[in-house]
């Protein structure tokens, strides 16, 4: 082990160091000045983000337990990018009275879950995958329950931790069978020994159920809406964007590298799950009033679309999944950003409350609209490109009917996204949300999102870069 090796896993290392620094700072700062942690942690994380973009080596460490490649590095960078946006959006919330004394805990928990996700992405064995997953989940429950005196927050926390615990039990049951049939938990070895004997199929399905839980695929999604609704807004966006993105990444990697040999099993599986997820997510989203819950179901439906790329099971598929998640992060963060800004100013988070928003807060409405259009896959925002490439991937593999169902679902989804747009732009309201100034960090975060929404779509280099690095998988 030498310095180069450290550099190889710099994402995780730097993040760990930052976490520790925040912890130390927290211990040494007086209670009344805790707010300084905000600036410190954000700056540190920004540095981490930049370090992440340094060119780097790729390779395996710890006897293949830790793997990194350009693709995985990119994924981590994407996650970091998302997290910094969330951190910026959270500032308003953290400055509220209630959170005054637990500012640093927020950062600690976010960073440690992020470490978990990054290890998960870089996992080279099921053990690392499992541990990363747990690290990404257990503190997350605390984040969900962060607003201690809100019933909903507590409820979200308990629902998350218990269902996560159960799902991870199912997941490791699957892993135990994988181990039992292949004699290893290392991806490389497993991949060599995997075939479609019944037990291995069962093992795969159990494993997949556990992962599906994290990505909220139907029928493993039921926790999602409640947890999203109950959690503080920024935690919800963290959950729906980063946590989900990371899990989707690793699912793709595992499917393509480890379970490649049973693609004939998981392709039809994905087909079924994808159709179910899109449809159910959409059907539930239609009736929602609470925006967080609404976005929860919408993000369930979005997960269904991701499967389309996976099912493409090709270079294009891989690329489009990563690309879509990238786009999705920005779109969803844009939407959640607006929700959070408004929620912490006015405590309103229902679609009805947004009636006539455009007339008082036009900029926020526009950002929201762009974000929703991106989620719906309407050009010229990036979501269109994301969806198009996913569909291309699935179509290239010959799944035309699946694409058709997906596009129909995209149409349904457009319906409910438009409901929000309608509320903001069309509906009349005697007492709309009054005009207010958005805090600077949140504003920056929203601007980043909007720029991202346009740039990612039109600047094809991003997509091409992703493709160039996903070649090896």
């Amino acid at each position: 082990m030498n310095l180069e090796n450290f550099f190889l896993m710099r994402h995780e290392l730097v993040l760990t160091i930052i976490t520790l620094m925040v912890l130390i700072a927290d211990l040494s700062i007086h209670e009344d000045k805790k707010y300084k942690i905000i600036a410190l942690a954000t700056t540190l994380f920004a540095i981490n983000l930049i370090i992440g973009f340094f060119p780097s080596l790729t390779g395996n460490l710890f006897g293949n337990m830790y793997k990194t490649s350009d693709l995985q590095l990119t994924m981590k960078n994407i996650l970091n990018l998302g997290v910094i946006v969330i951190l910026l959006q959270s500032v308003t919330w953290l400055k509220t009275d209630e959170n005054k004394l637990k500012i640093s805990e927020f950062y600690l928990l976010v960073f440690s879950t992020l470490i978990g996700m990054q290890f998960m992405i870089s996992a080279g064995s099921f053990l690392m995958l499992y541990l990363g997953l747990e690290l990404a989940t257990i503190p997350m429950a605390a984040l969900a329950a962060y607003d201690r005196f809100r019933h909903n927050s507590a409820e979200a926390g308990i629902k998350l931790i218990l269902s996560a615990a159960m799902s991870s039990a199912v997941l490791i049951l699957g892993i135990s069978f994988i181990y039992g049939t292949t004699g290893s938990t290392y991806f490389d070895t497993v991949a060599m020994h995997y075939s479609n004997t019944p037990l291995q199929t069962l093992a795969f399905i159990l494993f997949f159920s556990g992962m599906a839980f994290k990505i909220s695929l139907v029928p493993f999604h039921l926790w999602t809406a409640d947890v999203y609704e109950g959690s503080p807004v920024n935690v919800t966006s963290y959950l729906s964007v980063i946590s989900k993105g990371a899990s989707a990444f690793i699912l793709v990697i595992v499917l393509f590298t480890v379970f490649n040999s049973i693609a004939m099993i998981w392709k039809p599986l994905m087909y079924i799950i994808s159709v179910l997820t899109m449809t159910v997510g959409n059907l539930f989203a239609i009736r929602q009033q609470n925006l967080k819950r609404f976005l929860a179901f919408s993000s369930i439906a979005q997960a269904g679309f991701i499967l389309l790329g996976i099912i493409g099971a090709s270079e294009i598929g891989m690329t489009s999944v990563v690309y879509f998640i990238f786009v999705y992060i920005f779109s969803n963060l844009g939407a959640f950003g607006v929700v959070s800004v408004i929620y912490y100013k006015t405590q309103k988070e229902c679609i009805d409350d947004y009636d006539g928003l455009y007339h008082t807060n036009p900029k926020l409405s526009l950002v929201m609209m762009l974000a929703l259009f991106s989620l719906a896959g309407i050009p010229p925002v990036a979501g269109y490109f994301g969806k198009f490439f996913l569909f291309t991937a699935a179509a290239s593999a010959g799944y035309y009917w699946l694409v058709f169902i997906a596009v129909l679902n995209a149409t349904i989804s457009l319906y409910y996204y438009l409901l929000v747009v309608k509320a903001m732009f069309i509906n009349k309201n005697d007492q709309p949300i009054a005009y207010f100034k958005t805090d600077v960090p949140a504003k920056i975060a929203l601007i980043i999102c909007v720029i991202g929404l346009f740039v990612i779509g039109f600047y094809s280099t991003i997509y091409q870069y992703i493709q160039s690095i996903s070649f090896g998988l």
């Binding site: 309407i378 050009p379 179509a395 035309y400 995209a410 457009l414 069309i426």
Partner: protein, 500 residues
């Protein structure tokens, strides 16, 4: 110089200009200037195109520009025009220009209104210049979405319902379309090689017939929904009825043409075998559209509904002609698109102006308006006459070309449906005269109408632009018809190769 891209750039710049504009007046002026430039550019394009052709340039598409965009999917930003697209671009420019003036007095959120309107037109222009299915679809969707806001915010009546229905149905159509396009893409290299979205390159290969059978209906219905194909037309009456003036103009005038244009440029051109094989189904549907729309229009009371149904009928004729798949009929189809685009835009502009004065669109509440507003009345009569196919106006030229083209088929089926389609001209006359009679003639029913003002200058400008265009085509159709016909040749050649 990449003059085609300017067609997209100018509107975008105009939108940016509007965003910085300070007050509604500036907004209007900027829009007018922008779209005026666009009109000039379109006119220049027509002449440049004809010049090139006269100079002996026989390339299928002129003014080609091609930039690689998404290299790994072989997606290009690829533009080029032939006579057909040039004609459609000119149509769009005219209608948008007229639309700006028809909505001169929008006072509720004018800035947003013009932005949406021009964005919509951006999509349309982009659609017509695209040679790449990807960008084509992109622009198509860009064109559809501003409709929602335009109808939802500035519309009237059950606008939210109508806007939603319209958007969803069109998006449902684009769902089919997307699958079709992807299907074409994935089959675009049956002999190996790179898959492509480029229309011209796809046209060179022979897509396997099984794939064609699957994707032709998808593509055709996808575009057909936008072209108000029976039974997928119901967004049209509600949408038009609720939309504000300029939007109805643009929508019926231009956006619906995307359907017809796409149907032949993509569905027929790229999937000719299946088109031959399956056209009979759609011919039946379109001929139903033609007659059905006309009958539907007879009993309507709302002016916009009448026009919407009439659009169903007329646009049905476009698709009908496209499906006839011979040069004359297709020529007629394009002419009909242009002609219908102009006259329906004129109709909607006038209806908007009348509604703005009378605050009703119910024909039974009106009457004798000719007396108080002769200019609008005359214009309405002209629009009506164009619609019922009076010689000397564009509608006649288009319809006749279609009928004669369609009648070139020697089998009974094609001839019978042609005669069915022809019979619509009588029904059209019935409802047009009914409207004109009830609206303009007779005694004035409502005493308030006695003091209504006639058109203002901007309204006149809008109306006259359209009338001139209609008359120009109606009186001297040959150059246009030839311009289209020449460009149709490659398509016909491709079709004739597979006709047994």
């Amino acid at each position: 110089m990449d003059i085609l891209s300017f067609l997209v750039i100018i509107p975008v710049l105009t939108v940016l200009g509007i965003i910085i504009a300070k007050d509604p007046k500036h907004t209007r002026i900027i829009s007018a200037i922008g779209m005026g430039l666009q009109l000039i550019l379109a006119a220049y394009l027509v002449f440049a195109y004809l010049g090139e052709r006269n100079a002996g340039n026989i390339a299928e598409m002129l003014f080609r520009q091609d930039y690689m965009w998404y290299a790994n999917l072989n997606i290009h930003y690829s533009v080029g025009v032939d006579g057909i697209s040039v004609a459609m671009i000119a149509l769009t420019a005219v209608v948008v220009f007229a639309g700006i003036f028809a909505s001169w007095k929008v006072d509720f959120l004018p800035k947003e209104f013009f932005i949406s309107l021009i964005l919509l037109s951006t999509g349309v222009f982009g659609f017509f210049i695209s040679l790449d299915l990807f960008t084509m679809f992109l622009f198509y969707e860009i064109a559809v979405i501003p409709m929602y806001l335009l109808i939802g915010i500035w519309g009237s009546g059950p606008k939210e319902y109508a806007a939603m229905k319209l958007t969803l149905m069109l998006m449902g159509g684009s769902a089919l379309l997307l699958v079709g396009i992807l299907g074409i893409y994935t089959n675009s290299a049956p002999d190996g090689g790179a898959l492509t979205f480029n229309i011209l390159e796809i046209a060179k290969v022979h897509i396997p017939i099984e794939a064609q059978r699957l994707f032709f209906p998808m593509t055709f219905i996808g575009f057909g929904i936008l072209g108000a194909l029976f039974p997928f037309h119901t967004w049209s009456p509600d949408g038009h009825a609720s939309a504000p003036t300029a939007v109805s103009m643009l929508h019926a005038g231009v956006l619906m043409k995307l359907g017809g244009y796409g149907a032949f440029r993509v569905a027929i051109f790229l999937l000719p075998d299946a088109a031959q094989e399956l056209s009979w189904i759609f011919i039946i549907l379109t001929s139903i559209s033609v007659v059905y729309g006309a009958f539907g229009a007879i009993v309507q009371k709302d002016l916009k509904y009448i026009n919407a149904y009439s659009s169903v009928s007329h646009c049905g004729l476009v698709l009908f002609a496209v499906l006839m798949m011979n040069k004359t009929a297709m020529d007629g189809a394009i002419l009909q698109m242009i002609s219908h685009g102009l006259m329906t835009a004129l109709f909607f502009a006038l209806i908007g102006m009348i509604y703005g004065r009378t605050h009703t669109r119910m024909i039974n509440e009106m009457g004798g308006l000719m007396k108080v507003m002769p200019f609008l009345g005359v214009a309405y009569v002209i629009a009506g006459l164009a619609s019922l196919g009076l010689p000397g106006l564009s509608g006649f030229v288009a319809e006749m070309t279609i009928f004669f083209g369609a009648f070139q088929h020697t089998d009974v089926f094609h001839r019978v449906v042609t005669i069915v389609a022809v019979s619509s001209i009588v029904i059209t006359a019935v409802y047009i005269l009914r409207v004109v009679g009830a609206l303009l003639f007779g005694p004035i029913k409502n005493p308030h109408f006695e003091h209504l003002e006639d058109a203002k200058w901007f309204e006149k400008l809008s109306t006259v632009t359209l009338i001139l265009a209609i008359a120009a085509i109606g009186i001297a159709p040959l150059w246009l018809s030839n311009m289209i016909g020449t460009s149709l040749q490659p398509i016909i050649d491709k079709l004739s190769m597979i006709i047994p």
